[in-house]
């Protein structure tokens, strides 16, 4: 680990701004707080845990970072019941059995056969192992929705994240040549363990402000009419304030904008809104709630 006297010397001011610009080039509008966190993730280096509501662009951070650093993005999607085997590695049993059969008749010694079937060809590399084996440059390892995995997996992950080293009994120990840049995301559906949180940097992504969201729509959909984009975003911000069971995120804003573009609408009137409401709200209760409020009323409040 370098001492920080050196750090300050090689450090150019404005590297954080460079991250913001770089992310912008890949269609991600990052604020300075997020850019700082990502910058620290690369420089410290330490995993970054990003929390926030659904659809605020947590996963996109990893994609943007990988594009910006011109490196590979390796993604581990967590789900309930995810275990070490599906995350790290597994032997390809079918192929191994087949190989045993093929060589049954040959008179080569058993030891050689064993070496063969526990070779690289028979190893199914899952995301965590792939990120450790990466040779060219540090990959971005995205561990998505870690809150869905169970606590046992979290403990296992801790071990990997601190060592970046894996022991495969048949092959020996593999040590990462390049430490991956790790980004974890969580929808905070459950509290993560203290140990994991302590090991990570933390960033909370809030729903974007009116200005920021407008900018996101403009960056992502440059050909979309600016006035219309502004109204769409105003509308979304109002919808978000309605205490729905599933408030729409930025992804929904972009869907809605894209829908309007495809329908070639120049106006965002109640009739249009009614048609594309399915892009915004994904539950029957929420739809009923917004209809009770009156789509027209909401639109009126977005102002012309």
């Amino acid at each position: 680990m370098p001492s920080f006297a050196d750090d300050t010397q090689e450090e150019e001011s404005g590297e954080i701004s460079e991250f913001i610009r770089g992310f912008g080039r890949f269609g991600y509008v990052a604020d300075r707080a997020l850019a700082t966190a990502v910058y620290l993730l690369v420089r410290l280096p330490k995993p970054l845990l990003i929390e926030g509501h659904a659809g605020v662009g947590k996963t996109e951070v990893a994609k943007a970072l990988a594009s910006y650093l011109k490196t590979e993005l390796i993604r581990l999607q967590c789900y309930e019941g995810l275990d070490a085997h599906s995350a790290l590695y597994e032997w390809n049993y079918q192929k191994q059995l087949l190989a045993i059969r093929v060589r049954e008749k040959s008179d080569k010694p058993v030891e050689e056969l064993e070496r063969h079937i526990f070779g690289d060809d028979f190893l199914l590399k899952r995301p965590l192992l792939r990120s450790i084996l990466c040779e060219s440059s540090s990959p971005v390892l995205l561990i998505d929705e870690i809150d869905r995995a169970d606590e046992a997996f979290e403990a296992f992950l801790l071990e990997i994240l601190s060592e970046f080293q894996v022991t495969i009994p048949e092959l020996g120990t593999v040590q990462a040549k390049r430490i991956p840049h790790v980004i974890l995301t969580s929808n905070s559906t459950r509290e993560l363990s203290d140990a994991l949180k302590r090991r990570c940097l933390y960033h909370w992504i809030e729903y974007p402000s009116l200005e920021k969201e407008t900018e996101i729509v403009r960056t992502r959909l440059p050909e979309f009419d600016y006035e219309l984009a502004f109204r769409v975003v105003r509308f979304m911000q109002l919808v978000r304030r309605m205490s729905l069971s599933k408030p729409p995120g930025i992804a929904e804003t972009l869907d809605l904008s894209q829908a309007l573009m495809l329908l070639r609408r120049k106006q965002f009137d109640p009739e249009t809104a009614e048609q594309v409401l399915g892009c915004v709200l994904k539950s029957a209760d929420d739809l009923a709630k917004i209809r009770r409020e009156g789509v027209g009323n909401l639109l009126l409040r977005t102002g012309a």
Binding site: D7, A33, A37, L40, E80, R190, E191, Y202
Partner: protein, 381 residues
Amino acid sequence: MLDAIEMSRDLEPIRSVVEFCRFVRANGLDSGIRATIDSVRAVRIVDQVGLDDSRHALRAVLSASKRDWDLFDQLFDAFWFGRRLEKPVRRIAPGNSAVSARNKQGIYLGVGNLASKEPGATKEERKVVTGASAVDRLRKVDFSRVPQDDLAELGRLSERLLRRMSLRLSRRFRLTSLRGRIDLRRTIRAGAARGGEMMELRHKSRKKQAVKLVILLDVSDSMNPYSVFLFRFAYVLGRHFDQLSCFVFSTRLVNVSDALKARSLPDALRALSTITTCWSGGTRIGGALGEFNRSFGRRMRSTETSVLILSDGWDADEPGSLIGELRILKQHVKKLIWLNPLLGLDEYEPVTRSMSAALPYIDVFAPAHNLQSLLELERHV
């Protein structure tokens, strides 16, 4: 790492950052020595760029949850700019709210604020660490007699312990629906039919066994000291049981399962207050159970369902109706559990007419007056 700190040219900025780390720790952020070292490094890395960057950097390093994240700005301003901490920040180290003129001039990372060095700070700090004995005490304190100071701590503790319990519970029931491991023994056995060729792999996975839980929570007047805690309990369980339904009742029965799906407990309580107007009031347990049997019974009662009644058993109705409904319920569910907060009192005997009449139909009758008793539920379900 510490050597690196010693060797660096300028000790003062480091000192300030370390002081700041101590300050945030004293004010409720759970950060250890590792976080302090990282803070110093982080500030070094982003240094010379601007105060805001240091703020962002320190926040990324020192916070570990949304709560910390929201608290951080206040703490940062209080320490570096001498702004007053607003309530409800807990455990304010005395002296830190004093405005330091030097800080106001913006001697960033300078020697400016060493206020937390004052003797008060170390004492406060010690308090933050919740020792095993404190945990033990909080587990056993009766919900109706929680001292005001302990409310927040008890809230956090119960969230943590109950979550752990419900995770264990749900793991016990919600077994994998995925294809399990390869069962080599059966694979080879099956291969024998094809002359030893193992064409198909056989898998083994555990038997699926879904358990449903229905909670009926009494929110009448007499339950007042307990109902909020018990609702918290229901909320935490709800986060880990897919198939959990929750009803509250006093004179009528209200389905509040949707409120349990709220993102956070305060949201859930808010949702609860919009759904129900029957909070506090008289009790008609029999009537409420009858309503449950009639309106929801067919859907919710099954042999995989456990029904959990949280009530003190004070009933305005004649016990007859309660008994009738309990009998119906008992026939249709796997287990009937009645948790009674009053059972925690030493002098309590289930002598209310309803309660004593109900006992024969109940599989488990247990107290629910403190955290410990709620954690015991694991044994019963």
